[in-house]
């Protein structure tokens, strides 16, 4: 019975089926919100699913001169890592896997797709893929540190690296975003960099290098990469909601899932707003912003938190 339950958790809720469905819905929220902000109509709610199914049905081409097996393997590994990370972040107030240090493991699992993307770009003999892959990796070095610093503040305050404990710590007093707004901003920008969204979307700046590392990919492989990006978005937002926005059970414990859902959608809308308000940064500007602004701010926030907590 217990095995069956676990299997259900893994495959249905809050595992694979749930994560994919919600990731697709969230992708719709993103696109719709951006459309409304830009004065457009936007897509219908099933559009991300339709895109995904259509891509899955398209001819899957292997680029001449690239390693076909590796090209097929990379998106699978990336998607698997993103989904596994999804199992560790709390959905509502429950995560399938929870242990001390799961925050770090989640972050690590989330960075696998980026490395996969870099490799995917690198194995294709095309300059767009190569430049895009390079930029992915460069950006990885830029946002990973601010994201980690941004998430370390609450962890230091609550003296735990466990997501569930961080959430319950917030229900004990108040949301971490109120105590550490700077850390929240730093972590959000780090997350935008991780998700390669405007203004930090240089790895696939359409007007410069086409689709970047994914330029030569099509069909199933492209569909899996897309899905990976959407799941990554969902997991990243889950993480931020759990660490900074009090997770699920702050206001009304019985409506935890609803509260959590509202926060996730709201945060997604916030990201769409950022996308609507800013132009893309250049690669050197990304590095400059990260190391000159975000890292010092993140360190400062962390230092203040540790000093206050001590």
């Amino acid at each position: 019975m217990h095995t069956l339950l676990t299997l259900g958790e893994l495959l249905l809720f809050p595992g694979l089926a749930y994560l994919v469905t919600v990731a697709l819905l969230l992708a719709w929220v993103d696109r719709k919100a951006l459309a409304v902000l830009q004065g457009r109509v936007g897509p219908p709610i099933y559009q991300p699913l339709a895109d995904l199914l259509k891509l899955l049905g398209k001819e899957d081409l292997d680029t001449e001169g690239s390693d076909a097996r590796l090209a097929a393997l990379l998106p699978m590994i990336s998607l698997a890592c993103a989904l596994t990370a999804g199992l560790m972040t709390p959905v509502g107030n429950h995560a399938v896997i929870s242990f001390e240090g799961d925050l770090m493991v989640t972050l690590f699992l989330l960075s696998v797709p980026t490395l996969g993307l870099f490799l995917a770009g690198w194995i294709v003999p095309s300059v767009y893929n190569m430049l895009g892959g390079n930029r992915s990796l460069l950006q990885y070095f830029c946002y990973e540190v601010p994201l980690l610093l941004g998430l370390a503040g609450p962890a230091a305050l609550a003296r735990t690296w466990r997501l569930a404990a961080l959430m319950s710590a917030q229900s004990a007093y108040h949301w971490h975003v109120l105590a550490m707004p700077v850390g929240f901003a730093v972590a959000t920008l780090g997350l935008i960099g991780k998700l390669e969204r405007v203004p930090l979307d240089t790895p696939h700046a359409k007007a410069e290098i086409g689709a970047g590392p994914l330029t030569e990919y099509s069909g199933r492989k492209l569909a899996l990469w897309r899905l990976t990006a959407w799941v990554q978005t969902l997991v990243g937002i889950n993480l931020m909601v759990a660490v900074y926005l009090g997770g699920a059970d702050v206001v009304w414990p019985y409506w935890g899932f609803g509260v959590y859902a509202v926060k996730v959608v709201g945060y997604m809308g916030g990201l769409a707003l950022v996308q609507a308000l800013y132009a893309r940064l250049r690669v050197d500007q990304v590095a400059e912003m990260s190391w000159r602004l975000l890292v010092p701010l993140g360190l400062l926030q962390l230092a203040v938190t540790v000093w206050m907590g001590a």
Binding site: L131, D201, A205, A207, G210, V283
Partner: protein, 360 residues
Amino acid sequence: MSRVTVPIGPQHPLLKEPIALRLDVVGERVVAAEIEIGYVHRGLERLLQGRTFQQGVAVVERICGICSHAHTTAYCQAVEALIDVDLPPRAAAIRTLLCELERLHSHLLWLGVLSEAIGFTTVFMYAWRDREQVLDAMELISGGRIAHGANVVGGVREDVSPAQAREVLTMLRQLEMQLGLYQELVERDRSFHRRTRGIAVLSAAQVQAYGVVGPMARASGATLDIRRSAPYAAYGWLEVPAAVTNEGDVWARAWTRVQELQHSIDLCRTLLSALPAGPLARRVAERVQAGEAVSRVEAPRGELFYYVRSEGERTAARVKARTPTLPALLAMAELLPGLQTGDIAAVVAGCDLCMACADR
């Protein structure tokens, strides 16, 4: 670091029309650039030979999809100079009105293209949405959104009724309200400044050396504007303000165009509020006396030049068009080396290329 060649075009998301840029890149910096055009060369200058002068209007209208009215204006003006017919005042005013409306939609299109190139999709959406209104107004007057067919040798074909004038004035008012947004963007938005300030600076000396014209030249301190220096059509009666700045970078090109948006709105208003009465066109003979004529028009992208030669027959002996994109391309080839790859898009979009014009 190794040197790689990044091909941009003839098909690339950055480009709206085919042109091939071959950029040699080391790391993230462009070290050499080569431009190849001619992908949409349709031999229109050859086609114009042996067509009657009236038929030629339809051909030159199809050189470009953005500044089609500027092309017919320049061409008709040259033929009218050959025939030595003067334009009725009402025709001159309507021709000028369409020229300015065209400038509005061309500049808005450009602003959208530039914004998209720097990843600022919101501005792109807004600019193109506002551009739709201008296209609607042009359709209202001429029946066509892109090819207006409004010019004929000796005048114009389309009248502007008082009701149409009111509708266009309403459109202009709505557009002017939106314009504040673009002025704010150009003057204050830091995100926009970061991607456009100090990039690809074109000096006044380079403007002269490459013969750059239009807003791109005016962004580098040149005052060249045919509407002011050699007024044609109704520009003689109008006060055309200068939008000149000295920065010479991509930002200055945006600033110049946004100023010109406001100027064009004002010019359209002035024209619509006092459209002279009178005939729309003079009757002209089909046969044109032998001779040659040149005409210069300030198209949205800059000085558009036409040369027309007649050998006394019903058909044209030679029609030559020099479009503003050619010198812009020459200057662009000079601007690209030394840029970061991330700036290529802003610079190429910022040069306001029209390949159909350049290739003919």
